[in-house]
């Protein structure tokens, strides 16, 4: 049984459905990942790719689990930078009037640990800001 490299958690005052939409629809992801568009049909086994603003496939992975609005998992590899893919899990649990998102990242290559560990807390905060106020947060870094 493998052990996640990171586990992040955030509570957001929203519904599981809106959280799910933010995690799977192009708009939020494009805003967050610097203009990259996600290309996938979200069918288990299908490719998940991101297309850079210049039109190239720059991340490549596969849909592993797609169980709306509770559990999403896919693998991804940053092409030309990572030698193998890592695995992401997003778990959504209702908690009273809020939703708890648990993000687990498995099997990250050592050189990428630092960058990834900086990206996810910012991702969580801006997701919260977007879902609770409708605005993405201006982030430094």
């Amino acid at each position: 049984m493998d052990k996640p490299t990171f586990v992040y958690q955030i509570h957001i005052a929203t519904t599981p459905e809106r959280m799910w939409e933010a995690l799977t629809s192009g708009d939020f992801l494009e805003k967050y990942w610097y203009g990259r568009r996600f290309r996938t049909d979200w069918i288990v086994g299908s490719p998940v790719q991101t297309i850079s603003p210049e039109g190239a496939v720059d991340w490549d992975g596969k849909v592993l689990r797609f169980e709306p609005p509770r559990f999403l998992s896919y693998s991804f590899q940053i092409l030309g930078f990572q030698k193998r893919s890592s695995r992401l899990e997003f778990e959504i649990e209702p908690q009273g009037k809020a939703v708890r998102l648990t993000l687990r990242h498995f099997d990250i290559e050592e050189p990428c640990v630092k960058g990834i560990s900086e990206a996810w807390p910012a991702f969580c905060s801006t997701l919260k800001s977007l879902l609770e106020t409708g605005k993405a947060m201006e982030l430094g870094g």
């Binding site: 049984m1 493998d2 052990k3 996640p4 490299t5 990171f6 586990v7 992040y8 958690q9 955030i10 509570h11 005052a13 809020a98 648990t102 687990r104 807390p121 910012a122 969580c124 905060s125 919260k128 947060m137 201006e138 982030l139 430094g140 870094g141």
Partner: protein
């Protein structure tokens, strides 16, 4: 709800033993209670009590691997504190200052 969450974060961080536990998880994520007790000058009960407070403040999250409960540092609440008071354009300069402090204070 929001205010109470913040109170929990600051109260949890106000204790040096709990900050030490976070340091330990920062150095090595995904440790069991047993792992955390090693090299800590605290009883197992004390570590377990502090972990519960950190978990309630959501500074620590857990993951079950079979029967093993693994503890992870969850920096998300700290990131939100940062995002609240540090403007986008200040981040680079603050990083520079932190680096300078680390370099100057390093024991040679």
């Amino acid at each position: 709800m929001k205010g109470r969450d913040d109170d929990r974060v600051f109260a949890a961080l106000a204790d040096p033993s709990r900050r030490l536990l976070l340091d330990r998880l920062f150095a090595e994520n995904g440790l069991t209670l047993g792992n955390l007790c090693e090299r800590m000058k605290m009883s197992r009960q004390a570590v377990s009590k502090h972990l519960a407070i950190l978990e309630r403040a959501r500074l620590v999250t857990t993951h079950w691997r079979g029967r093993e409960k693994l503890h992870y540092l969850n920096p998300v609440p700290i990131h939100q504190v940062q995002a609240r008071w540090i403007a986008k354009f200040e981040t680079d300069r603050l990083d520079l200052l932190s680096d300078l402090k680390t370099r100057l204070e390093r024991k040679s």
